[in-house]
């Protein structure tokens, strides 16, 4: 097994899974990625196009891992268009991980869109450790609901449960994952809340967790060039998302003035979240 995560591996896409019309999962064989901790990310090279940070997606086959892409910018659209047999480069996995404490018995997982990727790796690990996981996933509308079947497989035969919400009510529970979370924490106690998704959603999840005195961990995202603590592009206050994160706990987040407020664009200027 290779041990230097900085070494770029060129991997062949062994399978592509269309998750929604705009979201696709690319599966490849890579031992380091297979053993990635929940929340870690890869720097994915799309030759002659881009290199982008992507959370490591789980795959059922031993020795395999995946990335899940939403078609958005030049890099992600180009990655989305890759076919079975195409070559991509990966380095990593980088970053810290979601922490599951030994004493935890019940956790709440709140994810939106492709933010579910690290959370599914976490849920798999939690369920293997017999920790009861309540998973709340949100999407704007029915066609954008991601990973429902996969999640049902992960939790089947366990005490864990899944809530699917759509903003427009076209599928599952009508409303946001945040409003559903608010209802759930009113009636049930949790040892920790885990979240990943759009930053303003995460900000709301973190605030609700704090109001209910539940520990919380969030996986944050910023533009990255290097992924290894050199370029500084991903700074959020005095933290580097790539090296100190991507996961921060409620205490760390409470000191970050930029969380849910501003991000930096490619040239480093601060932009307010709309």
């Amino acid at each position: 097994m290779p041990t230097n995560i900085d070494n770029r591996r060129i991997v062949k896409i062994s399978e592509t899974i269309a998750e929604t019309p705009t979201v696709k999962t690319l599966v490849f064989k890579d031992t380091l990625s297979y053993f990635a901790e929940p929340g870690q990310f890869l720097m994915v090279w799309i030759p002659r196009i881009e290199e982008i940070p992507m959370s490591v997606m789980i795959n059922s086959k031993e020795g395999f891992a995946a990335v899940t892409i939403r078609k958005f910018g030049i890099g992600s659209t180009s990655l989305f268009e890759r076919k079975k047999g195409d070559l991509i480069g990966i380095r990593g996995p980088y970053g810290n991980r979601f922490k599951l404490r030994k004493k935890y018995e019940k956790i709440l997982i709140v994810g939106g869109g492709t933010g579910l990727v690290p959370l599914l790796r976490l849920a798999t690990m939690a369920i293997n450790k017999k920790i009861k996981s309540t998973i709340v996933m949100g999407a704007r509308t029915k066609t954008e609901v991601l990973f429902e079947k996969l999640t049902k497989n992960i939790i089947s035969g366990t005490a864990s449960s899944l809530f699917v919400c759509t903003d427009d009510g076209s599928y599952g529970i009508k409303g946001t994952n945040v409003s559903e979370m608010t209802k759930i924490v009113r009636n049930e106690n949790f040892d920790c809340v885990y979240t990943c998704g759009p930053e303003l959603m995460m900000k709301a999840v973190v605030d609700i967790a704090k109001q209910n005195s539940i520990p919380v961990q969030a996986s944050l995202e910023r533009y990255m060039k290097c992924g290894i603590g050199i370029c500084g592009s991903c700074c959020l206050d005095s933290s580097l998302i790539c090296q100190d994160g991507t996961i921060f706990d409620g205490w760390q987040l409470s000191k970050m003035l930029e969380f849910g407020s501003t991000y930096r664009d490619k040239d480093g200027q601060k932009i307010k979240f709309a």
């Binding site: 380095r91 290097c226 603590g229 700074c235 005095s238």
Partner: protein, 308 residues
């Protein structure tokens, strides 16, 4: 800046500047955020050089822009991405006590004059002029390889500020000593040597260059002996303060640069493996070294190798 007794042993003077220790952040690394500068200062860094700032914001090249190579070396072609003079002066406006050099990059004297007009009232200790970025056309090294342009730019900067000016030189087509001499003659106080060296990496499976810009600059462990040679030659021939830069990852590397003639050093690429805590550990080890050697003050070792 005053240096208290606790820091006396490691403090260094570069021209009229006193730093509490010789370790500085190299330009281009983590260099856009005041909060990050504060964190590095808490990690006992001696001084900061910002990312190179241009008049207008620059987005830089698409990724891959920075790639780790084997053995502690790195290849980059970031393309001088930076927030531009206006946003960056706002970023630094809260700076109180951190010794910051602003790195400047431009293609004409006018660019530099414009930037200094904005930056000169900030709480900063000086400027570093980037004449050696090896991978952006009409900026950096293309200017550095043109002695007339170097002379014009440095004298323009000199006319517009009383603050110390360092000129960052690299290994281009003009001899590094001649380039340094031109900069000093035009009014620079300090020479920073060296920048990255033009380099390239090609992936054997896809058969494609990895950097989006194809060619970039090599930094890290591989370039250290070249940096040592340049610092040695410049300080020996020109008798000017030199800041050494290139491939420093341990306290021994800092000492080696100082023995070659560097008054202070800049550290960059190693942050990719060691993180910001590296400044704390290196300065602790430097203190142990001078105590073990019976040296009163680290600045006493600057240029000792010239004697032999």
């Amino acid at each position: 800046m005053s240096v208290d007794d606790k820091n006396f042993k490691l403090s260094v003077d570069i021209d009229e500047i006193t730093l509490r220790n010789p370790t500085m952040l190299a330009s281009g690394i983590l260099g856009i955020s005041q909060s990050i500068f504060e964190r590095l200062y808490d990690e006992n860094i001696g001084g900061i050089v910002t990312k190179s700032i241009s008049v207008e914001p620059m987005k830089g090249y698409p990724n891959p822009t920075i790639i780790p190579l084997s053995g502690g070396s790195y290849l980059n072609a970031v393309g001088l991405s930076n927030p531009g003079v206006i946003a960056f002066s706002e970023e630094l406006s809260q700076n109180k006590n951190i010794p910051i050099f602003i790195s400047l990059v431009g293609s004409s004297e006018k660019d530099f004059a414009k930037m200094i007009k904005v930056f000169d009232s900030l709480n900063i200790i000086g400027y570093e002029i980037n004449l050696s970025c090896p991978h952006v056309s009409k900026m950096g090294m293309e200017v550095g390889d043109d002695p007339e342009a170097v002379s014009k730019i440095v004298s323009t900067v000199r006319k517009n500020t009383k603050k110390p000016i360092s000129v960052k030189v690299g290994v281009g087509s003009v001899d590094v000593i001649e380039l340094a001499r031109t900069a000093i003659d035009a009014g620079a106080n300090i020479i920073t040597a060296i920048n990255t060296l033009r380099a390239m990496s090609i992936d054997v499976e896809t058969m494609m260059p990895i950097l989006s810009n194809r060619i970039g600059g090599l930094s890290g462990t591989a370039i250290k002996p070249i940096g040592i040679r340049c610092v040695y030659e410049i300080s020996k021939n020109l008798k000017v303060p030199v800041i050494g830069c290139g491939g420093i990852s341990t306290w021994q590397d800092v000492v080696e640069y100082m023995l070659a003639g560097a008054s202070a050093v800049q550290i960059g690429s190693v942050l990719g493996s060691a993180g910001p805590g590296i400044f704390n550990s290196i300065t602790k080890d430097l203190k142990k070294y001078i105590e073990r050697k019976g040296i009163m003050k680290i600045s006493e070792i600057v240029g000792i190798a010239h004697k032999y």
